[in-house]
Every structure is written in C-alpha cells, then in structure tokens.
C-alpha cells in the first residue's frame, strides 16, 4: 500500500459552458516526483488551481485529501499553510524588488510590523544556497536571467516549509543548462523529503526525473503510468493525444532555390550598455524553399539577431550588410523590413505579437492593413473574409473571427500570429520560438504550416530552444554562441550533441565554417542546381 501524501477524488470543475474537469482523480505518493501531462486545455492547470485553493472549496465538487486530512481550502493562503506551494509558469516575482524581498513577499520576517532586514537577507542567503544560487540577496530580480528567477521562486517555496511543491512548466523558458540544474535541484528536494508535482510538456525531462506520470486529456484523468523503462515518450504522447502519432515531425522534401536573404558581418551592441557586443560579425543565409534553424543557449543573441535585422527593432550601434536576393538593402524601420519582404513572429506572442483585447480579424490584418484599405479607409467586409479564410485554412479553433484573441489557447494564438505574417506576404519569415507553450497536436500543425511555406518558395528561419524540433524540421541549422555564429550543420549531420557542442563554444575558433559542415555534396541538401545566380526582382519558378 503506497503512502499517498495527496489524493484528489472525483474532482469536477465547471465554467459557464465548459466542463474543465470531469471526475478527475490524482494520487501522489509521498516523496515522489509526479508528472502531469496533457495537451494545452486538457485541464492540468485547472486541477492544480483547485488543489492550491485558487479555485476555493465550493467552486468545485470532489474531495481533496492531503496528508491524511480532508481539505477544504478557501484560498491560497490556506493551502500554503498546509505546505502546498505552487509555482506558476508565469513567475510571480516583482521585478524591481530584491531577491530577499521577493522570497519573503507576503511572508515577511518582521516584528510588530517592521521588517527585520538582517534576518531577511540572512535567511534569504541560506535559501539561495539550498537552490544553488550565488547571487547577493539584495540584487534586483529583474537583473537575473529567467533560469535564476525560477530558482528564486523555488527558494520562495522552500521558505514556506513546503511539503508538496507544484511546478507548472518549470523548464518551459529555460535553456538546457538551466533545465538540467533545475531537475537536479528537484532530485535533491526529493531526497530532502519534499514531494513534487510537475506539469510539463517536455517528455524527455519527465522520463528523466518523474517517478509517475498522470495523463490528463479533455478534462479527464486518462491513466497513471509508473515511469519504468517501457514507458517511452511515444507511449506518453499516445496517452496524451489518444492515438498513435507516427511522426512528431511531418515529412518534408525540400526544394531549395536561390539565395533569398543574406546577413553579412552583422554586429549589434546592447541598447543600454553600448560597449557590450550582443551579436558579433554574424553571417547567415536563407534560401528559397529552405527551412533554416538558429540554435543557441538563452542569452546567445538569437532574438537580438532577428530583431535587429527586422528593421532595427532592437539594438544600437548596428553594422553589417543585408542582401535580399543578392541586392543590398537597408532596413531602418520595421516598416522597411516588412516592405522588403521580411516577417518576424516574436518570441513572446502575448507581449509582442498580439493585441490581446482585440479580435482575431484585427490581429490578422495588423501588419498589412494597406492591402485592405483604399485611400486610408479599411474595407471591413474584405477584412472579415480574409480573416475567415485564415481561420479555416490554419484551423484556428474559435467561434468566429470576432473572438477576442486573449481568450484563445496558446496554439490558436500562435496560429493567429502566423496568419498575420503570412497575410503580409513576405519572402522570408523569421519565427522565434514558434511552438513554445503549445501542445503536441498544435505543434504538428505548425510544423506542417512551416513546411508549406517552404514549399511555396519562402525562406523560413526558425529560432528554437528545442533541439529535437530543429533537427526534425530544418534543412540546415546555425548555432549561435555568445553572439557568434559558431557552426552551420546540415540536417543529415545534425545531432543534439553536435549542436550543443557548437552552442557552448566560447568564441569563433575558426574563420570559416566548422569542418563537419556542409561541404560534402553527398550529404548536402543545399542548392539543388549549381551556383546561385542572383536576379533582380523575383526569380522565376516560384508560385508567387
């Protein structure tokens, strides 16, 4: 008989019109790391919100038994007092406050209303040591990278004498190095006797660390798997999705043509700290019909590279050359970049990519209103038709194009972003983390869309932190390390180890390309028909 620290039985939670959870059960063994898997919208976060008291007792039906006692939490404080602490995907840290202040936010080390700073900082330092941070407790949280901020959140949880730690997508925004550190920390916590529940999409991590996995689909608990060796990632996916996924990445035979975009000697300085070089003499090409990947650790400069190319939307002291179809171009503003045929789908779609309070229709037309307007007046009917077309073709799940974008799921929001940029009819699309925070099924849809864009003769540059994804869909992958392009690898030669090797190189050790790269025509998937001949205007042989 296993010793269950938590038993949730028959949990049903409804919202107007939607049954988010139906008769869900969850049993967590003491001291284990229990993973919860499911597609976006399956109900994982809702279940955790019920457990932690965000949805108070009375707003759901069913029973929660924690540590042997039936619990009826009226709010989060009540669950925290019992030792249940939840760390949300969007970190709840106050950026301008210090690490110590954040750790004890709401739980201050005070006496008679006055904060004891010495105690605060000292206790914070001790907690930081437990999670492996060497930062000064008085440092401002916003000056830390997101990996370290995540650790501050865990320190905060430890300060509350946590017994059951719930982590919602803990490594979603972390690079591999930080992710490994975090997983190691969780193992350590397990040793200390803390039970962990981890909601995650990263199946490899679940396999690496979880003792048990519960799969939730469509608001129901489907199955609970002990993580033995037989339980492969594919087995988990099958449970999540309800059917076999033969391929996680759609088949694609590339037809690669002439050079479309060339970035040469591209150097970018930090906008606030002008002496800091963020991108250093980067060289990069994208060809027609080609899907090129850009891999790098967090902070390597991928987004900075993309945004600075995209009409100098980021950076200062930018130098280098850009060539579109062989012709030099100067992109001084974002509008210049769009007019030149570039598109950039931002890394954070909610922050930079979408107007969340507006409807789908207006978001889709946002980058190309000129196509719908005459003499400054927008044709509403045409806009509606265009939006509807994309809703159908991209399979955006919403009642109508007048639905507010803020209420769509991550996958559907990303499709709106892609629709916006596809409608702007670019030649080159730069997609920054296009499948972040999206479930497996929607990811597949987006890969398919990317393939189709390539088939239509566009060039696609995909920036991603998921190496398997890059290897799965890209024809060629560049690696960026500390602002330098350190490698260029063809798909046939690409492996996670090789890419990681290049991604962790300190500086460019070679003036040319690494030896393992694409010189061997037998392994090459590059130019199909000999040397590239630049032409003015569009080259023939494409559909647009």
């Amino acid at each position: 008989m296993a010793d269950h620290i938590l038993q949730m039985r028959g949990i049903t939670k409804e919202f107007p019109g939607v049954k988010a959870l139906q008769d869900v059960s969850l049993e967590v063994v003491r001291h284990e790391v229990h993973a919860i898997c499911g597609e976006n919208g399956a109900g994982k976060s809702t279940l955790m919100k019920v457990l932690s008291g965000v949805y108070p007792h009375g707003s759901y039906s069913g029973e929660i038994v924690f540590d042997g006692e039936v619990c009826r939490f009226p709010d989060i404080r009540a669950s925290e007092q019992r030792g249940i602490v939840i760390i949300h995907q969007e970190l709840a840290l106050s950026p301008y406050l210090s690490i110590a202040e954040n750790i004890f936010l709401g739980n201050e080390r005070s006496r008679r209303g006055l904060i004891d700073w010495n105690r605060t900082n000292a206790d914070a330092a001790a907690l930081l040591e437990r999670v492996g941070l060497t930062e000064n407790p008085t440092a401002r949280v916003m000056d830390l990278g997101v990996g370290k901020q995540q650790l501050v959140e865990i320190a905060k949880a430890l300060s509350k004498d946590v017994k059951l730690l719930i982590l919602d997508e803990p490594t979603a925004a972390l690079n591999d190095v930080d992710s490994d550190h975090l997983l190691g920390l969780l193992r350590g916590l397990r040793q200390e006797g803390i039970t962990c529940i981890m909601i995650s999409h990263k199946l490899n991590e679940i396999r690496a660390i979880a003792d048990t996995t519960t799969i939730i689909r469509d608001g129901r608990s489907i199955e609970t798997l002990p993580m033995t060796d037989e339980v492969t990632e594919d087995r988990i996916i099958k449970g999540m999705v309800g059917r076999d996924l033969d391929n996680r990445y759609p088949e694609h035979t590339p037809t690669i043509g002439a050079e479309l975009l060339r970035i040469e000697d591209w150097t970018v300085h930090h906008p606030q700290h002008r002496d800091r070089i963020v991108v250093d003499r980067a060289n990069l090409t994208v060809r027609r019909g080609e899907i090129v990947g850009l891999a790098g650790l967090m902070g390597a400069g991928r987004t900075e590279l993309a945004m600075s190319v995209f009409g100098r939307a980021y950076g200062a002291g930018i130098s280098g050359q850009l060539y579109k179809q062989g012709r030099p171009i100067r992109l001084r503003t974002v509008r210049d970049a769009i007019d030149a045929g570039l598109a950039y789908a931002t890394e954070d779609r909610k922050l930079y990519g979408l107007n969340l309070i507006q409807d789908i229709k207006r978001n889709i037309s946002a980058a190309a209103l000129d196509k719908l307007a005459r003499a400054g007046w927008v044709d509403d009917g045409k806009e509606f038709e265009v939006a509807n077309r994309y809703r159908r073709e991209m399979n955006i799940k919403a009642p109508s194009v007048l639905s507010v974008v803020g209420k769509l799921s991550g996958g559907n929001q990303q499709k709106v972003v892609l629709s916006k940029w596809i409608y702007a009819d670019p030649d080159v699309l730069i997609l920054d983390e296009p499948t972040r925070g999206i479930d497996v099924g929607a990811k597949y849809e987006i890969y398919t869309i990317i393939n189709e864009l390539a088939d239509r003769g566009k060039g696609v540059l995909v920036i991603s932190s998921e190496l398997p994804e890059l290897i799965g869909i890209c024809d060629r992958i560049y690696t960026l390390s500390a602002g330098h392009i350190t490698g260029e690898v063809a798909r046939a030669d690409a492996s996670q180890e090789l890419l990681m090797q290049y991604m962790t190189r300190d500086q460019r050790t070679l003036t040319g390309l690494p030896a393992e790269a694409i010189e061997d025509p037998a392994h090459s998937v590059l130019v199909a028909d000999g040397p590239v001949v630049p032409r003015s205007g569009r080259s023939a042989g494409t559909d647009d």
């Binding site: 988010a20 597609e39 996924l245 037309s365 400054g376 927008v378 009917g381």
Partner: protein
C-alpha cells in the same frame, strides 16, 4: 492547406456563444449600450425630480448648446485615451485659444474667418508641441500635459494682459453658439401633448430629426445585413428592432423639443459633423485602426510595422485643434475671454470619455460613447442646478457618478466574460 494534412486532435468542445433569442440578445445589447441606457434613465430621473423643468424645450436646447464645448473636447480626449495616453492641458488650452480669439477678433479687429483660422492653427501648434514631447522624446503624456496645463494657463494671462476681452461680434456669437436654423420651412402648431408640450414647432427641425432617424435605421439595417451576409453572429431581430425603436423615439423626442424652442442650433450641426467624421475615422480608417492597435499593445503594434510615433503625434495635434475649437465655442457662448476660462474642463472631458466606455489602459473607447458620456455629465450639471443643489454637493455627486459608471462597466465586462 494545413487543414487537409494535419491529424486533428480530439479537443474540448468550444463553448457555444451564449444564449441567443430575445433575452440573450437584449442582455448583450444592454451591456453594450449601458451608458446610453444610463443617460436616458438619468434624464428621466431628473425629469421627475425637477417636475419636468429639465425637459422643457428651452432646457433641452440649452443642454446641447451649453455642453457643446465639453462634447468637442470629449471627442478629442477619447482618441487620446484609446491611444493609451491622457491630456490634462485641454482646459488651459481652451482658455488660451479663447484668449487668442479675443485678441485677434476683438482687439486686432481681424475678420472672423481669419481669426478663427489662426486660432485653430495655434491649437494645432499646441498639440504639435505636446505631441513632440510625448511621441518623439518619450516623456509620459501625463507629465507633458500637466506641464501644458500650467504653461498655457500662464500664456492665457499673458495674452489677455491681465484683463478680460468682451464683447465678441454678434456674427461670431451667432455662428458658434447662439445661432439657430429657425422657421426655414415654416411652423406647425402642435397641440399640447401631455409630457411633450405643444405650440409652434419648427418643421425643418422635425424633418432633420426624421432624417436622422431614417439615417440611423438605414445604416444599422445595412450593417446588420452585411454581418449576416458574412455569417457573423447578430442578435435576435426582436432586440434589433427594439433598439432602433428606442433610439428613434429618443431622437424624435429631442427633435420635437428643439422644434418647440428655436429650431436646430448651428452648434448641433457642427457637433453632428464632428461626431460622424470622427466616428468614421476611428472605426473605419487605417489611422483609427493604428490608434486602437497602439493602445491595445504598443510593442505588438511596433513590430507589426505601425509607425507609432507619427500616429501618437497626430493624436495630440488633433486634440489641440479640437481644444481650440472648444475655446472658440466657449468664448462665443459666454461672450467673454477670461483668464479662468476653461478651468477644470479636462476633468469633464475625461469623465465623459470614461463614462462613455473608454478603458484606463487604452485600446478601448468610442466617440459615440464619449458623446453620451458628455451629455450625461451635462444632464447632471443642469439637473442639479435646476434643483438648486449646492455647488459643493454637485461636485461630490459628479465624482461618485463617474466612479459608479466606470465600476458598472468593469462589472458588466467581467460578467460577460470579456476583459
């Protein structure tokens, strides 16, 4: 395209749109036209409290004429708020531009059209000045326009040289405040209808009212038909007709009252032109879309290639021009350019915009809403004056009404699930 090839996942059913039918549609209309309903209710409330005085023809006419300057400011203000900014200087600019109108037209004796033109240009220059600091230099609008409030109040004193300017020429007053189109097509003697009154009613006014109703019905029907054609969801026919009928009744009521008094005020024509033009601008023009996009998510707008700085700049230039227009209208009404003209007008304009449904964070707001909001504030002012409420209490009540209006809006938005 993608739809053919992808393997579809079973996913939770998308919730159906909330109940259809008459009641559901009525409830939705209610939340959207909440301010309009509130306005009618407040008007009727004061109608009862004042024993019908507030609804007398002269009073209804005055309601429009005496609040015109606030309504003009509200139109500009709602655009500034939608763009995500605020303008605290409009009261001072009204004072300043009114003073300059006095200087040009009364002291210097320039022809009225020239004086008006120069004043509008000055308004544009003021807007450009503030717009530069907000849009290009990056100083928060709150600070820039707070500084403007002080600067232009001082400028008013300088322009007037510490004196008042009065009177303004009759033509000036006539065009911008006291003029009416009266008796153009004769009168019809109306019997004394209970609650509506009777007497000679200007036919032209009634025709204009009827024209407005027809225009409303036609445009609403066409847009509803267009929505149906594009398979957009529309409320039930019953609710649609009810809304039109109520609007028509309100319009004709106002038209009748105006007809019994002095006919169509020139200023109403000016207001109507402004409302129609600016509504069209915000709803249907590329510029209007850009304003909503910038207010909704500045970064997303930037990265979509929208030129944020020029758009913001012109929003403030526009506010400056409208402030100048309000300055002209106000001096025409009180026949006086005074150092304290325009004092606190910005608060009325801001209140009008928020009561009309604008959001504090930007990205939401409508011209029509601001007008109804402005009229609501006007009715409050007027009604409380008629009742002889102490000026101090008037302030308290106005403040509480503003709070209640926005709180109600927040509440109903939360309930309907959109936020």
């Amino acid at each position: 395209m993608a739809a053919d090839i992808i393997q579809k996942n079973p996913s939770p059913p998308v919730p159906d749109s909330p109940d259809g039918g008459f009641l559901g549609s009525a409830r939705r209309s209610l939340s959207q036209s909440g301010i309009f309903i509130a306005f009618v209710v407040i008007l009727l409330l004061f109608g009862v409290l004042t024993g019908g005085t507030i609804l007398a023809p002269q009073n209804i006419s005055n309601l429009i004429v005496q609040n015109a300057h606030i309504l003009i400011l509200a139109i500009g203000m709602v655009i500034v708020i939608v763009a995500g900014h605020i303008d605290l200087s409009v009261g001072s600019v009204v004072g300043f531009t009114g003073a300059m109108a006095g200087v040009f037209i009364v002291r210097m004796g320039l022809p009225i059209w020239l004086g008006v033109l120069l004043v509008l240009i000055i308004g544009a220059a003021v807007g450009a000045w503030q717009g530069y600091w907000v849009a290009y230099f990056g100083v928060p609008a709150f600070i820039v326009t707070l500084a403007g409030m002080l600067v232009f109040r001082g400028a008013t004193l300088l322009a007037l040289g510490g004196q008042q300017i009065s009177p303004f020429p009759d033509t000036y007053r006539n065009i911008f405040s006291s003029g009416f189109i009266d008796g153009l097509t004769g009168y019809v003697i109306m019997p004394d209808i209970p609650l509506l009154g009777g007497g000679p009613a200007d036919v032209f006014t009634l025709l204009i009212g009827a024209l407005a109703v027809v225009g409303l019905v036609v445009s609403q029907t066409r847009s509803r038909a267009a929505r149906i054609r594009y398979h957009q969801s529309v409320g039930s026919t019953g609710a649609f007709v009810a809304r039109l009928v109520i609007s028509a009744v309100v319009i004709m009521y106002f038209a009748y009252k105006l007809a019994l008094f002095k006919g169509v005020p020139y200023i109403l024509i000016l207001l109507a032109v402004l409302v129609l033009a600016y509504s069209a601008l915000m709803n249907r023009s590329v510029f209007g879309r850009h304003v909503y996009a910038i207010g909704g998510n500045l970064h997303a707008a930037e990265l979509s290639g929208i030129k944020v700085r020029p758009v913001t700049f012109w929003v403030f230039v526009n506010m400056g021009v409208l402030s100048a227009l309000a300055g002209i209208v106000f001096t025409a009404r009180i026949n006086l350019a005074n150092p304290t003209n325009g004092n606190m007008f910005e608060l009325d304009a801001i209140a009008a915009a928020f009561i009309g449904g604008a959001a504090v964070t930007g990205g939401v707001g409508r011209v029509a809403g601001a007008i109804v909001g402005g009229l609501t504030v006007g009715v409050l002012n007027n009604g409380m004056s008629i009742l002889g409420v102490d000026i101090a209490y008037q302030q308290v009540i106005k403040g509480l009404v503003l709070l209640a209006a926005v709180a109600f809006d927040v509440y109903s938005k939360r309930r309907s699930g959109s936020h």
